[in-house]
């Protein structure tokens, strides 16, 4: 078995690694790069605990080979916060007690961010279906759905504020 050399971008940083041809991205992240945020709940794409995005597309990292991410951009839960500022989803998960054991939380956060990136104002039903690939056994999903809804509101308010600021700046320039 010969190793595959891979160069990729993870959470904005260039990473280079050598992996087995059949090794999953999940195993690479956890065992070779020390990024333990993605969890293996099943290894077969049924639980979503290993969710990451590759080139912006939400995937289960257990169903991606490490070798496949050559030249791609990977984002994991470790890349969610902006420096020491937590992402609104992270803030709302904490405020809404949306985690109990927390093992599914990284996957939910990554999946919820993927949802809000393309749909900033989802209905409850849209949230539930978008998160259907993430299993949680502790919460009954109630507080998770509420947290995502609250974070969506926060993000919309942030976006509105930013747009206003931009407009004001433009007006000032003019």
């Amino acid at each position: 078995m010969s190793g595959v050399q891979v160069s990729t971008t993870i959470n904005g940083d260039v990473e280079e690694f050598v992996c087995h041809p059949g090794e999953t991205l999940l195993d690479v992240l956890r065992n070779r790069l020390g990024l333990i945020g993605a969890k293996e709940g099943c290894g077969t794409g049924d639980c979503g605990a290993c969710s990451v995005t590759v080139d912006g597309e939400l995937v289960c990292s257990c169903l991606v080979l490490g070798a496949e991410v050559e030249g791609r951009k990977v984002t994991t839960v470790e890349g969610l916060a902006d420096g020491n500022k937590l992402h609104p989803l992270q803030e709302q998960f904490l405020d809404n007690a949306a985690l109990q054991c927390g093992i599914c939380t990284p996957g939910f956060l990554v999946a919820a961010k993927a949802l809000l990136d393309r749909n900033p104002d989802p209905t409850e039903e849209e949230i539930r279906y978008a998160l259907a690939g993430n299993l949680c056994r502790c919460t009954g999903y109630d507080k998770i759905v509420r947290a995502v809804d609250a974070a969506a509101k926060d993000l919309r308010a942030e976006a509105k504020k930013a747009a206003k600021k931009k407009a004001a700046k433009k007006a000032k320039k003019a």
């Binding site: 065992n31 333990i36 077969t44 049924d46 007690a97 985690l99 279906y129 502790c138 109630d142």
Partner: protein, 747 residues
């Protein structure tokens, strides 16, 4: 014991909802769970499992695997202590971890390897040759009770003959035959429930390290690291104090992580290889090789007068334990009629052995199945006498002074209040559409206490380190911090709660039976009070007055009496700062047997819609009412209610172990073992009742388990009201519901 008694104190921080102290780690991916530990030079272990449900193991040839490059250790039962002559319980635990001469279920471990990496370990497993002689098997509980059933454990006997019936338990009082004779209506019905798994998202995982000097460490996802330490040390012949067990963050347990499954194998491999060994189960192994709950079969009979008085109730319960005897049928017998005030009641339970995985506790173990039978029958009786099912239950609800069906007499309890809350809940008045139905049901669980040991240390800046020995399964650190802050009179954010490893605290019982907040909460209260005594002594030294003249309130020492009216209060922070000069570190410590946990009741309401053409059931609305005694952190109490209800909903509708004719488990994956997904569920409304437990200073009862008990019956009652068919087999999967509709099972 007096200090354990409930006092109706006013709270400042108890009942608030602050962020959990371990929260940031858990939303940033930093928190370390069972599989998140790494040691220099660690090996990867894998387990070889039996493909047969029942077989004699004639020979295991590991020689090829042992010679493979990169393989550092291979073990079979021959490498583990032979406990045949010792305690049967320990023998059973070890034999379940590693088969000894016989495989008792599909997935029973037969050998294990440790190698330099995963691909090598997998290859090594393939190189192990096992010679089996396949034996007849039995996986169904009723079939296992038949006279000609294959015998699972030859040493288990009834009436001098080998039998699969491991235990018969009986509870009750009064004269049931006389009671039934008095009844105007008697309903008798049989029910079946299939086997379900706790379904925690984190598979079992550990990192073991044992040296040739007999000292070892184990990092493991567990509900009870102290128990794991004792059990592993006993099984492997190690000294308890020389094995340090650290509980990782735990990714769900629900009872399934109260038992050792493969941890002794990791330790044995490490001892043999003299290298750290990491062992993580795959999801299929979790389903096959850890402990689900029982499948059951039961007959329930309830008789009542037309005025709604129950005259007698009887249940015969058959619980399947896997291949090792457990207390599961007995718990079903104790809990089945616990909600009601019955003059004549009798329950008989059989614990039955089959060729399935060893059964483990699953959240209020054994109670949900019995409640399914009893609460379904309750609805049938109510219907037969023309009474509203809630009113019927209210009329017969147990209360203070009722003799419980399992024996003792109840103190103050919450079944009546939960039923009143249900009756008055707006949910009960909401309109229903076509093919929709509403159901309700009640549930009971004991709650436990147990051995607990807690340490509280105050730093010189006035911040507090609280170390508890019960694991944090869902926000316990927040609750413990609230309790310490309340007792000391300081703010929540001045307390940092840690989970101590087995080297840093005395024994703590496993976090099971809803005991975490009840017992560690109690030990925390006492540890904090001990620390307050020290703080007062230190203040006395600083002031040079008598300690008896000092009162502790609002986080400060207050000098009492006119003589000391010139002394401004000394805050905890001020006293802590001076502690190096007043006698050194300030600490409080407590060890307690926190017994006397109060029993807990819940009543649930649910609405469903059934597609009559496909048998598909959707839960539209769900409400949980449960007695918490006292909710320390209400958000996490709600979370327990919601999570328990969700597990019950999954159990009711879709979750089941499916065995083939060959005795093999067909669906060991989250694809085909269908736990509810986000889009399957509605919001789950909660109502927390607080009927104080007289045996806890804050009135805490424990909240984790009770709400998994009612959903099976609540949903079944709702389905019955939606489409007019009575389901007697859980899960109510679409094929079963459609068949019932076609067959017109309107009974």
């Amino acid at each position: 014991m007096a200090e354990q008694t409930y006092t109706d104190q006013e709270f400042k921080v108890i009942g608030t909802r602050p962020r959990r102290p371990d929260g940031v780690d858990k939303v940033t991916g930093r928190a370390r769970y069972g599989a998140d530990a790494f040691a220099p030079g660690q090996l990867v272990a894998r387990v070889l499992r039996s493909p047969h449900a029942h077989a004699t193991i004639k020979k295991i040839d590991t020689s090829k695997a042992e010679k493979m490059k990169g393989v550092k250790a291979v073990i079979t039962s021959a490498d583990l202590p032979d406990l045949t002559e010792g305690n049967r319980g320990n023998f059973d635990i070890l034999e379940n971890c590693m088969a000894r001469g016989r495989a008792l279920y599909h997935g029973h471990a037969v050998a294990a390897v440790a190698a330099i990496d995963e691909p090598t370990a997998r290859k090594a497993l393939k190189a192990i040759k096992v010679e089996y002689k396949v034996l007849p098997h039995v996986t169904d509980v009723d079939a296992a009770m038949a006279d000609d059933a294959p015998i699972v454990q030859p040493h288990v006997q009834q009436d001098g003959k080998p039998s699969n019936i491991a235990n018969v338990s009986q509870f009750g009082h009064g004269d049931v035959d006389g009671g039934f004779a008095e009844a105007d209506v008697v309903i008798e019905k049989s029910y079946k429930t299939e086997q379900t798994h706790q379904g925690y998202i984190e598979p079992h995982a550990c990192l073991a390290s044992v040296g040739p000097d007999g000292q070892g460490e184990l990092w493991v996802t567990t509900q009870g690291h102290f128990t794991f330490r004792t059990v592993c040390a006993q099984l492997l012949g190690m000294d308890i104090a020389k094995l340090k067990v650290t509980s990782s963050e735990i990714g769900g347990g629900f009872g399934g992580k109260t038992h050792v499954w493969m941890e002794p194998l990791a330790l044995a491999l490490s001892r043999k290889a003299n290298r750290p060994v990491k062992l993580v189960m795959g999801r299929d192994e979790v389903f096959m090789g850890s402990g689900p709950t029982c499948s059951t079969s039961m007959d329930v009979k309830i008789g009542a007068k037309k005025d709604g008085t129950i005259t007698a109730a009887e249940a015969t319960l058959r619980y399947q334990d896997g291949p090792y005897p457990g207390p599961w049928g007995m718990l079903g017998a104790m809990t089945s009629f616990a909600c009601y005030d019955l003059p004549n009641v009798k329950t008989v339970a059989y614990d039955v052995l089959v060729n399935r995985p060893k059964v483990a506790a699953y959240r209020a173990p054994s109670a949900p199945m019995a409640a399914f039978g009893v609460e379904s029958t309750m609805d049938l009786v109510a219907e037969a006498i023309g009474m509203d099912p809630v009113d019927f239950r209210i009329q017969n609800a147990a209360k203070e002074g009722t003799r419980a069906s399992y024996g003792p007499t109840y103190g103050p309890i919450g079944i009546g209040p939960t039923l009143d809350a249900v009756k008055n809940h707006p949910h009960m008045q909401a309109k229903l559409g076509p093919n929709q139905g509403r159901g309700m049901a009640c549930g009971f669980w004991f709650n436990f206490g147990g051995q607990t040991c807690t340490d509280l240390n105050i730093g010189t800046d006035g911040t507090v380190n609280l170390t508890v020995g019960t694991v944090d399964v869902g926000g316990a650190r927040a609750s413990m911090s609230l309790i310490a802050a309340e007792e000391l009179g300081i703010s929540y954010d001045k307390v940092k709660c840690n989970i101590g490893d087995t080297a840093s605290l005395g024994h703590n019982d496993t976090t099971e039976g809803s005991r975490g907040t009840f017992s560690s909460g109690m030990a925390t209260i006492f540890a904090a009070r001990a620390a307050v005594d020290v703080l007062k002594q230190r203040a006395a030294l600083m002031w040079e007055i008598d300690v008896d003249d000092i009162e502790w309130k609002d986080g400060a020492a207050h000098a009492q009496g006119v003589a000391h009216s010139n002394l401004a209060p000394l805050t905890l922070e001020e006293i802590a700062k001076k502690s190096p000069q007043t006698g050194g570190p300030i600490a409080g410590h407590n060890e307690v047997v926190a017994d006397g946990a109060g029993v807990s009741f819940a009543s649930h309401i649910c609405d469903v819609e059934v597609d009559p053409e496909t048998g598909s059931t959707r839960v539209l609305r769900y409400t949980v009412v449960q007695d918490a005694g006292k909710a320390i952190h209400p958000a996490y109490v709600e979370g327990q209610f919601q999570g328990a209800a969700a597990q019950g909903i999954g159990w009711a509708l879709n979750e089941e172990y499916v065995y083939g004719e060959d005795g093999r488990l067909q669906n060991p994956s989250f694809l085909d073992y269908r736990i509810p997904v986000c889009s399957d569920l509605p919001f789950i409304d909660t109502e927390i009742l607080e009927i104080p437990n007289p045996n806890h200073p804050y009135g805490i009862r424990g909240v984790g388990e009770t709400s998994i008990v009612p959903p099976l019956a609540a949903i079944s009652n709702a389905v019955s009201n939606a489409v007019g068919v009575r389901l007697d087999h859980i899960p109510m999967s679409p094929p079963r519901v459609l068949k019932a509709i076609k067959d017109g099972n309107g009974a």
